[in-house]
């Protein structure tokens, strides 16, 4: 068996700087193996340890400087390294990247038939792209099954058994070989190389391919092979002034100082007067191009979880309706609903704004699986020819959209926080492309907002859960409900779901709470007891309080997934968010940064949580919290009004 690890080298996120040209300057930042890719490398080694005959190879695509990270992979224990490196690859989007990598793998002899003995392991996403597209795109190009958001995987009797992280819990999946897996950075930490490994790596050669070596034509890659472009990157200005830190030499002094700080208010940012922007005039004499070529309408996916339409799928109908309103008058919002015994859910979608619901009701489709679902989408898209397709950026949506994109030759924009209809002016070619979907997404650790445009229909985007409001349902709204019968082959059902485990309910109370007390890894030595006590004390005071946690706390089993705040959990915006022992990983910040006031308590003043907080205490939570709870019991409510 061959284990193929796909790896990308990225600039150390904390060292990225914006260059003078407005693009990211990667040259000054140190390079590292992308965090998630490190977990994939380790997952490969784990499988090899149990199957000593397996060969480990690592593949990457990028400039020659990537050899540094490939060497590191070799020093961790990989046997061979390959790099696809060619200037003409510059500007490739995820679609073109997926194609180029697959072409390299095919050149290496993989992906020719279904009875091959190989496994692809990749990181879930990269820190400089955050799309999570490439593993799906490679799997589709290679024509093999896939599972993304995998934490651990084992080879059992020739099949892969993998634990896949999903909203609310996890799934145990079984996939035949060959298949592709993408790993979250929550499984087994990547090992440090041994000295003997480093010595071996020093003496190993890395095979470098140009696109000619693998017979890839330059039209299929780079800018010309990419259905999407990055039209604009803007800075996301921090709207948070520097944190006000508590001063004091004991718990009592620190907590008193916090109370005084909250009373006196946050630090304020100096607001620089913005220069008024001149309205850009639409240039005259440019050719206006409607590249949609007859494609029309917006297609969304209604994800069914536990027999209900998931909240993010309902949220999606808000931007879908807005976009339809910005397009031609008769633009339809169509929703695809796939599952078993789901006819009743169609009406709910109509009430929330779908003009038409296409229902695929099949007992084999009770649970989401990527192969049949992506095939159904491809067939519906072929029949309906929508101009835009939208998915909620859930674990399912984020793998489904790119796989569909490969089937329809479309690019995909991941994890958007704003969707609008606009136009693209190409001054060089004197052309205006309109109307076009402008998908905006935070990137580079939430520090930049990129606008991505796609020029192939359907223009596909996934929208971040928790970003848009659920539309107010109107039970009297009318819409069409259509049944659709897809043609599905046996091979779409090769992967099995052995077990799905979801934690307690959706915990909607987190969305309604005025104050959330969240515990991170640094608050678990008492199993979050103090965190819960603080929330309970606040509730007793008559404040709407709830407790939550960060990702590692869910991983180690201390709390259920429903309480997880962050990119792969819930996005909340309470009036007050109290982060205790939370380091402030980007993924967590994404889920709470919209909170009105953020209070951080941690023993390590260097943690990034403090640069995202309004008030802070540096100290051990076991010391601070008892004091804080006492103050709450005698009436301190973080400045929140108490409703009697």
């Amino acid at each position: 068996m061959t284990i193929i690890s796909l790896m990308k080298q990225v600039p150390l996120p904390s060292e990225m700087r914006m260059g003078e040209d407005g693009l990211m300057d990667r040259t000054k930042a140190k390079s590292i193996i992308n965090i998630d890719c490190g977990y994939a490398l380790e997952a490969g080694i784990q499988i090899k340890n149990e199957n000593p005959d397996a060969k480990l190879i690592v593949c990457s695509m990028g400039p020659p400087s990537f050899e540094e990270s490939l060497k590191k992979a070799l020093s961790m224990g990989y046997d061979e390294a390959y790099l696809l490196s060619d200037r003409r690859l510059g500007g490739s989007d995820t679609y073109a990247t997926g194609l180029a990598i697959s072409t390299m793998l095919k050149h290496l002899g993989f992906g020719k038939g279904l009875d091959e003995d190989f496994l692809i392991v990749a990181g879930r996403q990269t820190s400089d792209g955050d799309t999570a597209h490439v593993p799906s795109q490679v799997a589709e190009n290679m024509g093999i099954p896939q599972a993304t958001f995998i934490e651990t995987a084992d080879l059992v009797d020739g099949n892969i058994e993998a634990k896949r992280i999903i909203e609310g819990g996890y799934q145990m999946m079984k996939l035949p070989l060959p298949c592709a897996l993408s790993f979250t950075p929550t499984g087994i930490d990547p090992r440090r190389p041994s000295l003997s490994g480093a010595i071996k790596a020093r003496n190993s050669e890395i095979t470098v391919f140009s696109i000619d070596d693998i017979n890839l034509s330059d039209e299929k890659i780079g800018l010309s092979g990419s259905p999407t472009i990055v039209a604009k990157v803007a800075n996301i200005k921090s709207e948070r002034a520097p944190v006000k830190m508590s001063e004091g030499h004991s718990e009592t002094e620190l907590v008193n100082s916090l109370m005084e700080n909250i009373k006196s208010g946050k630090n304020t940012l100096e607001v620089k007067e913005k220069k008024e922007k001149k309205e850009k005039k639409r240039p005259e004499g440019f050719e206006e191009i409607d590249f949609r070529d007859g494609a029309s309408g917006i297609l969304t996916w209604a994800e069914v979880v536990n027999g209900k339409i998931s909240r993010p799928s309902l949220e999606l109908l808000t931007p879908a309706r807005d976009l339809a309103n910005q397009l031609e008058e008769d633009t339809q919002v169509t929703t695809l609903l796939i599952g078993k015994d789901i006819q009743d859910l169609a009406k709910e979608l109509v009430a929330h704004g779908s003009d038409e619901v296409i229902v695929v009701d099949d007992e084999r489709l009770e649970e989401y699986r990527i192969l049949p679902f992506s095939e159904i989408f491809a067939q519906v898209i072929k029949e309906r020819n929508p101009e835009i397709a939208l998915f909620a950026a859930t674990t399912a949506g984020r793998e489904l959209a790119p796989r569909i994109g490969v089937k329809t030759d479309s690019g995909v924009t991941a994890d958007c926080t704003a969707l609008e209809i606009g136009e693209h002016i190409n001054r060089k070619e004197k052309k205006i492309f309109a109307p076009i979907l402008e998908s905006r997404r935070p990137t580079y650790g939430e520090s930049k907002l990129a606008t991505i445009l796609g020029f192939v229909c359907p223009q596909i985007s996934t929208a971040r859960a928790g970003t848009f409001e659920v539309p107010t349902p109107d039970e009297n709204r009318e819409g069409i409900i259509t049944n659709f019968e897809p043609k599905l082959k046996k091979k779409e059902f090769v992967s099995e779901i052995i077990e799905t485990v979801r934690g307690e309910g959706g915990l909607q109370s987190l969305f309604d709470a005025d104050i959330i007390v969240a515990g991170g890894r640094g608050a678990t030595s008492d199993d979050l007891k103090l965190v819960q006590e603080l929330a309970a004390a606040l509730s007793e005071q008559g404040v709407k309080a709830e407790w939550a946690c960060s990702r590692p706390v869910v991983d180690d089993g201390t709390a259920e997934y429903a309480r997880q705040i962050g990119q792969t959990g819930k996005t909340v915006r309470p009036k007050v968010y109290v982060a205790i022992g939370v380091s402030g990983a980007v993924q967590h910040i994404a889920g709470m940064k919209e909170s009105e006031t953020i209070v951080a308590i941690d023993h390590n003043a260097k943690e990034t949580i403090f640069s995202n907080a309004d008030f802070g205490i540096v100290g051990e939570y076991q010391d601070i919290l008892p004091e804080l709870i006492e103050k709450v019991k005698s009436g301190f409510t973080f400045g929140l009004e108490v409703k009697k």
């Binding site: 380790e42 784990q46 340890n49 224990g77 087994i188 930490d189 990547p190 090992r191 440090r192 190389p193 041994s194 000295l195 003997s196 480093a198 010595i199 020093r202 004991s250 718990e251 009592t252 023993h603 390590n604 003043a605 260097k606 540096v618 051990e620 010391d623 004091e627």
Partner: protein, 554 residues
């Protein structure tokens, strides 16, 4: 994944500072001169990259480069600036006066300021070009012995949780068998310490004594200080008679300033805090006007072995040599060790080359290293200044006179060989110490604004120190049951004061119960705790390779 992961080499050098790199380069040169090209030279560095754990003032005496790198013009070496102004200032709390003369040995005109991190990166490239294999990011945990003789080293196991349990990503360390092992770990080398002890290499030596240097690198407005300007300060904030040391301020290229305070660790006040003393020193008008309008770029700390000639262990044994700071190659009188580190590396290299040719790496063969030393400039310099530091037991000015006498009498002074005590044993308990405690001495000057003066945590941020959480704590309490009774109750937890990186915190809860908390992630690898902790309370062991500070221009 073999369980016995072994590689072998002819020469293994532990540590990629100036002495280790000099040994590597000079050995490659010496072997080439002898027409030998089949010997493997391997160098292992614990820092993430070469240079990332190297810190020095630094002002370097460039003479050594003529013999060390004969084919390289001095202009090609990435030194910073040639020293053109050199003054020693005597500070009182409010005034500054230039001394009308240089203290003996302190003339720096013609020397060069430099970043040792940068210099080491340059030397590493030269070494690589000469065929030396350099592996950075690997921590050597201990030497291995065969028949009671050193026969190589073992690197640290990784993938262990903080209780010592193997994790799924456990990776066993590599055993390196070497005909000759050269320890170049720097000050208070954790492996050298064990070997010196195991092989009794310090029998009859004075106790090694140390200073702690705390350094900041600043970027200041043009005109604050010219590149090539060197100031040393004596006096404030240190107390004559009980605290040995002084400050340094070096003007560098691109309007950078390297500055720091170096204080002998033989002070007695258990609450003395070198880092805080440096912040107090920065508030002196002479220093503050140089920093005005500037911003901090980097922070770091290191200890310096200052025992001098009499404190040097026997630095060779069967298959083993010790070089640089690990062997005590430093002349406190000149505040310099880099040229001696390089010279010691070169001498060890000559001995290694000779031994490899003859096939005899025994103690007798390697004693050639000592022979070379006794004929060297290093010896001349160190022997003349052999009682320098000891003389200062009587205070800076008296000590200066004592040292001047020593120079006249060829180093013997009026007292012959002066003895020293261990730094940890000089420290007084709270009860025994009758002087004014540190906090009282500098009342009103210990509130740091985090812009001009910094608390330790803020400064540590600028060292970019980092340590993986999943590993055994690399700061080992030797007698945990004794610690509260002795170190906390009797001494008031001096670790919290002397550690410049806030690794140690004395926590007092509401009931008044006191306990030590260790924040190992802050450690900048200065090893003061290993040196100064009362009752040998703490042992510094090497953490995972690649952990620690990440200096760029220190």
């Amino acid at each position: 994944m073999d369980s016995t992961d072994t590689v072998s080499t002819d020469v293994l050098i532990v540590g990629g500072g100036p002495s280790g790199l000099a040994a590597a380069i000079h050995l490659a040169d010496s072997l080439k001169k002898r027409g030998i090209d089949d010997k493997r030279i391997m160098l292992i560095e614990k820092g993430n990259a070469i240079g990332s754990h190297n810190l020095s003032g630094a002002v370097i005496d460039p003479k050594i480069f003529k013999t060390f790198l004969p084919d390289v013009d001095i202009s090609e070496i990435p030194l910073d600036s040639e020293v053109t102004v050199d003054k020693t200032m005597f500070l009182t709390e409010t005034s500054d006066n230039a001394l009308p003369f240089h203290p003996p040995y302190m003339n720096n005109i013609g020397n060069y300021s430099a970043s040792i991190s940068k210099l080491c990166k340059y030397l590493a490239q030269i070494a690589e070009d000469k065929g030396v294999e350099i592996y950075s990011g690997f921590a050597v945990e201990d030497v291995i012995y065969k028949d009671g003789k050193v026969s190589g080293v073992k690197t640290k196991d990784t993938g262990v949780d903080h209780h010592g349990k193997n994790l799924k990503n456990f990776q066993e360390g590599t055993t390196v068998e070497a005909a000759i092992t050269i320890l170049a770990e720097g000050t208070r080398g954790s492996v050298a310490k064990k070997v010196i002890d195991a092989l009794d290499l310090d029998t009859g030596c004075n106790e090694q004594i140390y200073s702690l240097g705390v350094k900041e690198l600043w970027s200041v407005p043009e005109g604050n200080i010219e590149a090539g300007t060197v100031y040393h300060t004596m006096g404030y904030p240190l107390q004559s008679g009980s605290e040995f040391g002084g400050g340094f301020i070096y003007g560098l290229e691109d309007n950078k300033v390297a500055l720091g305070l170096v204080v002998g660790l033989d002070y007695k006040d258990p609450s003395f805090d070198v880092h805080a003393a440096m912040q107090v020193w920065k508030q002196h008008p002479f220093v503050s006007k140089i920093l005005e309008g500037g911003t901090i770029q980097e922070f770091g700390a290191k200890t310096l072995p200052e025992g001098g000639y009499y404190a040097m262990p026997k630095f060779y044994d069967d298959n083993l040599m010790i070089v640089g700071d690990s062997a005590g190659f430093l002349t406190t009188a000149r505040l310099k060790g880099i040229h001696l580190a390089i010279e010691s590396g070169m001498m060890a290299a000559k001995a290694a080359a000779k031994a490899l040719v003859s096939g005899d790496t025994s103690k007798a063969s390697l004693s050639y290293y000592n022979e070379l030393f006794e004929q060297s400039n290093a010896y001349e310099e160190m022997y003349r200044a052999r009682n320098f530091r000891q003389a200062f037991d009587k205070g800076m000015l008296l000590g200066g006179l004592q040292f001047a006498t020593q120079l006249i009498t060829g180093g013997a002074g009026v007292l012959g060989r002066l003895r020293t005590e261990k730094d940890s044993e000089v420290l007084m308990s709270l009860n025994a110490f009758t002087g004014v405690p540190f906090a009282q001495r500098f009342e009103g000057k210990l509130e740091f604004d985090k812009k001009f003066t910094f608390d330790k945590v803020t400064d540590v941020f600028y060292s970019k120190a980092n340590h993986e959480e999943e590993q055994l704590c690399h700061l080992v309490l030797n007698n945990p049951e004794n610690y509260n009774k002795v170190n906390i109750e009797q001494y008031g937890c001096p670790e919290a004061s002397f550690c410049p990186a806030e690794v140690y915190e004395l926590h007092t809860d509401k009931e008044g119960h006191k306990e030590l908390r260790i924040h190992a992630e802050n450690c900048v690898h200065c090893k003061t705790c290993d040196i100064k902790s009362p009752a040998a309370g703490i042992t510094w062991v090497v953490p995972y390779g690649g952990d620690g500070p990440d200096y760029e221009y220190m």
